[in-house]
Amino acid sequence: MLKYTIRRLLGMIPMLILISIVVFTLAKLMPGDSLSGEIDPLNTNPEYIAEMREKLGYNEPLPVQYFDWITGFLQGDFGKSTRFKVPVADIIMEKIPNTLFLGVMSLLITYILAFLMGMYSGRKPYTLGDNAIAGINYIMLAIPSFVAAVFAIYFFSFHLNWFPFGGSVDILVEEGTLDYWFSKLHHVLLPAIVLGAMSTASYTQFLRNDIIENSRKDFVRTARAKGTPIKKIYNVHILRNSIIPLVTFLGFDFAALIGGAIITETIFTYPGIGQLFLESVTSRDYPTLMALTMLLSFLTLAGNLIADILYGIVDPRIRLD
């Protein structure tokens, strides 16, 4: 297991190098360059600009520029945002907590919903309730998340006034107070529900099928023969066995949340890294764009890796080699 993990981790390195080359090439192919962010915008003297170009290394051959960028990147120097005129790392660090909060909340919602629905379906398979749950899940899986988000804002924010329709916190509340955290929670709830409720299908169906399969096993028969109440068999004996494999979905969710975050954050104008990414594309903020693309690619890679490793830990029958 350890050997496999180490080998996979080492395997990530060439992948990351390749991705970094692709990201660098793409950034260079995009119109304009990031020079404008580094110089004094009021000084239009061509000599000054030429001097700064030279000083900042924009005249070097591309491989040298790539090498400069990647060594800086590895040391945590992501460059300076051309839009905000502050180090990219600072901007990303400012936005990441919001995205993490949204991600964790939506995962929590997915888990709770899927858990309840899966438990019910597994206990009473092929009944009306089970079919209804399967139907609902299927429809939620098919509806594109942005369409669901638009409808959610329309009904819950505008018509019922239950949730605010944008931002991550009320601007009037003071930071650090209890109200502040409630306001944050209030703002994150609707996007998290939309993001989380959409992906319950795979969890629910998996839990359902696993519970049905386990309920036919010998240990359940033994427990019943000994007179254990049915409720206890389902809630303790079977659930313990069925819940572990669910962990493996976590890694895939990780990667899926990234794509989801870009869309959901934009629709809900929620200030996270997804929204920052889109803004950096439209405002041609290349240092931010490159750093975010690398970060998101890395997270996707890490998510896939975690999924594979959890697979092996949870089910020892799967041989990883």
């Binding site: 192919l29 429809i139 899986l141 594109p144 369409v147 329309y154 870009i262 869309i263 594309v281 997270l299």
Partner: protein
């Protein structure tokens, strides 16, 4: 002697159904899939007929022209679904939008399926080093965060190639990884059969074996996969257009129409502008998914229905 011939005539040996005929029968009996098929056919007819019926749909058949005199009209007898903020008829745009959405979905699916099948079948059939190289490349493509790279690539290629085809190419080229893996695994299982050995032993070239023997046998998987990818490509187009990185704004597509919901004023007060495309996208995606499930059922020889 005479009696035996009559028996033979009476009991004409009935030809048993071919696998495709069985599949068709099963599919026709699946109510949900049939309703969905009818819906998709209707949407297709609607989209294809857009330029011919535009004159009958509303007094403003031109979907790209801004009409200052008729902005934000609520649905009425003249404009059945009202007009948008540039004074363009929503119903007419819905018809034209279907053309773009379906075209993007269909072309991108074609690219994804062709690339995926090509890479997957070559990797699976030849195995060894070829397999290794191709699959590492597939991993590489699969590890890109899809939306992130589509948006970046789209921005670069915008203006170099015509907007619509940029989108088709980019989403097509970035999403074939899953199909390649699937086809490869199917080919790996299928090529162990004796008929492949037989075909090779009588001197068929590898290409002929792949084309004539392997692919027909993995076709059912590819068809089901193509349906599901068709749905996800329509979603991708709509999502990207909604974010403003898809089809150029001037061209009506369902995603572009929906993007007007970005303005709180439209979202809150003028639901007739964004609700029709939103509902149409959802229904189309649902129908395609139902058709996919129906096909999966019909093409699976083990399913009894």
């Amino acid at each position: 002697m005479a009696s035996t011939t009559t028996i033979a005539q009476q009991k004409k040996p009935e030809r048993s159904l071919s696998p495709w005929q069985i599949a068709r029968k099963k599919f026709l009996r699946n109510k949900l899939a049939m309703i969905s098929s009818v819906f998709i056919i209707l949407v297709t007819i609607m989209s294809l007929s857009a330029p011919f019926v535009a004159n009958f749909l509303s007094p403003l058949p031109d979907v790209t022209k801004v009409n200052i005199g008729s902005m934000n009209i609520q649905p009425n007898g003249e404009h059945l679904l009202g007009t948008d903020k540039s004074g363009r008829d929503v119903l007419t745009r819905l018809f034209y939008g279907g053309r773009i959405s379906l075209l993007v979905g269909f072309s991108a699916t074609l690219i994804v399926i062709s690339l995926g099948t090509l890479v997957g079948s070559i990797a699976g059939f030849f195995g060894g080093l070829v397999d290794n190289i191709l699959m590492r490349f597939t991993d590489f493509v699969l590890n890109f965060p899809f939306l992130v790279f589509v948006i970046v690539l789209n921005t670069i290629l915008y203006g170099i190639v015509d907007g619509l085809w940029v989108l088709i190419l980019v989403i097509g080229v970035l999403s074939w990884g899953g199909v390649a893996r699937l086809v490869r695994s199917k080919v790996l299982a299928e090529k162990e059969n004796e008929y492949i050995l037989a075909a090779l032993s009588i001197g068929c070239s590898p290409w002929k074996v792949i084309r004539k023997h392997l692919l027909p046998n993995v076709m059912s998987t590819i068809i089901v996969q193509a349906t599901l990818i068709f749905a996800s490509m329509i979603v991708a187009e709509a999502a990207l257009s909604y974010l403003g990185f898809g089809v150029p704004q001037a061209t009506p597509s369902w995603g572009n129409m929906l993007s007007s919901a970005n303005e709180p004023d439209v979202l809150q007060g003028k639901p007739w502008i964004w609700m029709p495309p939103a509902l149409l996208i959802t229904l189309t995606i649902l129908s395609i998914n139902f058709i996919g499930e129906g096909l999966k059922d019909a093409l699976n020889p083990k399913s009894l229905r």
